[in-house]
């Protein structure tokens, strides 16, 4: 199976079988999957919650830059999304 290429126009979505949610008890976003859980750090949580399968990485990046009053996040976002796709947390609908 070939890996989808992640670029600015990709529209990543949380993969089937995974669920992202905020856990007050852990003060963190977590990614739930069959019989397991990944506790996310702040930046991972902020990126993943914007991955709705409709928004492009370019738009996710600008939204993050606006929300956190910063710039040049593009490479970081693509690096993380690529990592999350490899981990099968995210999928890129073709």
């Amino acid at each position: 199976m070939s890996q989808a290429v992640v670029d600015a126009m990709s529209r990543p979505a949380v993969a089937r079988g995974f669920r992202l949610q905020w856990e007050a008890a852990q003060n963190a976003h977590v990614l739930l999957y069959p019989e397991g859980m990944i506790k996310l750090n702040t930046s991972a949580g902020e990126i993943l919650k914007r991955c709705d399968g409709a928004t492009t990485i370019a738009d996710i990046t600008s939204d993050l830059e606006r929300a956190f009053a910063t710039s040049d996040l593009s490479a970081d976002v693509i690096r993380f999304v690529t990592f999350a796709v490899e981990k099968k947390w995210l999928q890129i609908p073709s």
Binding site: M1, R16, R19, A25, L32, P34, E35, M37
Partner: protein, 393 residues
């Protein structure tokens, strides 16, 4: 946040962490009723004499209280959870509360109508058990005619767009069929296969001499599994749970009792592990009498094995105690008679010879189906009748 009773508790053992984390993993054993009679079941052998099952409202209360504490993964198991006709409302409430819901099932009782209702209720995930790759062996090991039904259920699970997760418990009588088991999983379109070597509690402990494979069998199975994994790549993920009897260090059982895992048994008994009811001297609380917060943070039995104040040598001074927590308390109790001893799987345990001797006995030649001659102890199938026979009133 609600008050934590442990914080104000007097005379706390020095090495107990100030506040344990929440019970992230909640396992509800909804019932001990099961249409299967598997020889390797970890349920207690005296299950026939346990008190009445909790009602729907009790289970819903447990869900709400545990979720409020931060529980997030939910296992629905048993016995066979589908024998309860309130499984759907239980799943629906769990989903509404934000649990990730896992159904752990033999498949018996899962038809189109029920799976449709469970999907509507928000069920996230299904793990389906098989006992072996052929009808003959599956049906022998479970003492039922269920193989064809399970194959039908597997197709139904795919039809409802669930990832197909197969669990096969391995032991002496089926471990040589790993290749055939994996071929079957591939044919059924499984996404994940868990080859779980038997852990020896409950019925499996009772049948251990007939179930423990030889070292050569385990090594062959692992090689077969690795070759198969290379062949199929990411199409089907294969997990191989290594049998601890063949290791030199124990498993970090439950990540330490009372650290993340909470089981509620069918009669409402709260346990830090599904086998822990056997541990002597501990009075485990019941959800009929106490709330989950009191049980998890405040009860003596849940606090007993937290930290390392309970440990004996060689664990107490061992640098590895923070990694494996001394292994499994139930295994220590079953094999040495003292739950505070090191898990005898550890080769630093003075009782390690009990494990190596059991492994040595398993070197006898394997037979396809055990003969029931006078020299061979018969397999005892998990059933209410056998349970009552083992533990007469």
């Amino acid at each position: 946040m609600a008050a934590n009773p442990v914080v104000n508790a007097p005379a706390k053992p020095v090495n107990t962490p100030a506040k344990p984390g929440p019970p992230l993993w909640l396992l509800l054993e909804l019932t001990y009723r099961c249409p299967l009679h598997c020889v390797f079941c970890y349920n207690p052998t005296d299950f026939a004499s346990t008190a009445a099952e909790l009602g729907t409202d009790d289970w819903l209360r447990v869900l709400r209280q545990a979720r409020a504490l931060g529980a997030v993964q939910l296992g629905l198991s048993g016995g066979e959870p589908l024998t309860r006709d309130d499984l759907e409302p239980i799943v629906a409430e769990a989903h509404r509360l934000g649990f990730y819901t896992n159904l752990i099932t033999s498949g018996v009782g899962l038809n189109d109508a029920r799976l449709h209702a469970l999907k509507e209720a928000g069920l996230d995930h299904i793990q389906l058990s098989f006992q072996d790759s052929t009808q003959q062996m599956n049906d022998f090991l479970s003492s039922t005619r269920t193989f064809d039904l399970k194959s039908t259920v597997a197709a139904l699970i795919k039809q409802y767009d669930y990832p197909m997760v197969l669990n096969v418990v391995l032991h002496r009588l089926n471990i040589d069929h790993v290749e055939e088991i994996l071929e079957m999983a591939l044919r059924l379109g499984a996404d994940y296969v868990e080859l779980a070597n038997t852990q020896y509690y409950g019925w499996a402990w009772h049948n251990r001499e007939q179930l423990l494979p030889s070292r050569a069998q385990v090594e062959r199975a692992e090689q077969t599994m690795k070759r198969f994994r290379e062949r199929v790549g990411s199409r089907m993920q294969i997990y191989f749970v290594v049998p601890d009897y063949f290791e030199r260090r124990p498993k970090p059982c439950m990540n330490g009792l009372g650290s993340i895992f909470l089981t509620i048994a069918p009669d409402g008994t709260a346990l830090p592990c599904h086998a822990a009811r056997m541990l002597p001297g501990l009075k485990f609380p019941n959800v009929r009498d106490a709330g989950i917060e009191d049980i998890w943070y405040g009860s003596a039995s849940f606090n007993h094995f937290r930290g390392d104040a309970w440990m004996k040598e060689p664990c107490r001074s061992c640098p590895e105690k923070t990694r494996d927590f001394g292994g499994c308390r139930c295994q220590a109790y079953l094999m040495t008679g003292d739950a505070a001893n090191a898990d005898p799987v550890c080769d630093l345990s003075p009782y390690h010879h009990l494990v190596t001797e059991a492994v040595a006995r398993a070197e006898r030649p394997a037979v396809e189906v055990p003969r029931l001659g006078p020299e061979e102890k018969p397999l005892v199938f998990r059933s209410a009748r056998n349970s009552s026979r083992l533990f007469p009133k």
